[in-house]
Symmetry: C2
Subunit: 196 residues, 2 copies
């Protein structure tokens, strides 16, 4: 095996997902992942900091795509429009890779450490989208609220889609979840609650 390792990261990510699904995250070693990917163990740690990170291969480029979607939304688009457009992009990518996405979700959901890592990646995506909204001239507080809400809608829509209870098309599920939230929030609050 030479030093040139074509798409080593992608191969490691695929191998890790396969092994984590088949035998569990805790039961899988970096050496086994590298072996299945046809690489040496030290290659694993050249590409990924730890066994968790390999499951988040692609997160950075997804984040870049979402930020670009927010930035590229037409000038007339509201903050929520821009974030909705970004969610549609994420939905399209996940839909095209449904099988991997479902497998990955099952692995992440089964392990507390992985769920924690997933949540921090999503929080980073929300931060990045909020930054892109500020660059469009959206006020800081609105930018953060809309970006965080967008990620919340994504999480709920994805879980529904994945469970089979939602629409078979994730993009449609995302649109309907966003519409549902808008409707729920449009109902005036009955009271201005003040706790004793």
């Amino acid at each position: 095996m030479g030093r040139w390792e074509p798409n080593a990261r992608g191969r490691l990510a695929q191998a890790a997902l396969t092994l984590y699904s088949e035998q569990g995250f805790d039961q899988t070693t970096a050496a086994e992942i590298a072996n299945l990917a046809g690489l040496k163990e030290r290659s694993f740690f050249r590409h990924f900091a730890d066994k968790r990170e390999v499951l988040f291969y692609g997160t950075d480029s997804l984040q870049d795509l979402l930020v670009r979607s927010v930035a590229d939304a037409p000038p007339s688009a509201t903050a929520m429009d821009a974030v909705s457009a970004a969610l549609q992009v994420a939905g399209a990518i996940v839909q095209e890779n449904s099988e991997t996405a479902r497998l990955r979700y099952a692995v992440v959901s089964a392990n507390a450490e992985l769920r924690e890592r997933e949540l921090i990646k999503l929080a980073e995506i929300a931060d990045a989208m909020a930054g892109a909204l500020r660059d469009r001239g959206v006020q800081d507080s609105a930018a953060r609220l809309v970006a965080e809400t967008g990620v919340a809608v994504y999480r709920v829509a994805f879980a529904r889609w994945n469970s089979g209870q939602g629409r078979p098309d994730l993009q449609q599920e995302l649109r309907e979840s966003m519409d549902e939230l808008r409707e729920v929030l449009a109902v005036p609050l009955v009271s201005s609650p003040s706790p004793s």
Copy 2:
């Protein structure tokens, strides 16, 4: 030191926060925390699974309070009303313990592992509030959307309040953040974006 350790958990939590603030999370040992709390090291691990968990002392009882607030909202309250009432309860508790809350936030924000743990606790709170909403007869998807959105609003409002940019009163900041999100979402979407 006898076996009877009045409020050992609370004392350990306070000692941990003090030491994490003063010398950093990574630099602090469980033995030091126990020592500052006037306890033996093995007491620490009788009360907390690890150095992270001690910072989340009180999270479970906060979650119980929030769930009860959602459950106890008047029958006429919408899902968003019920969650807003719960956020006001959280806001009141944090406001009464401002100094501890700010110190804790600084410690958590400075450490990736702690941020991850914080996010999973917030996700558990959202799940629990969604369950309380379902018990009120709210549909599953709306329950999850509203609960997740409530937590998103809380995170943004808390960060603003903590930074000094927001209102000095966290409850007011929470109300205004919720109103702001409602206003932003009330603007019709310009387009139904569909990515190429």
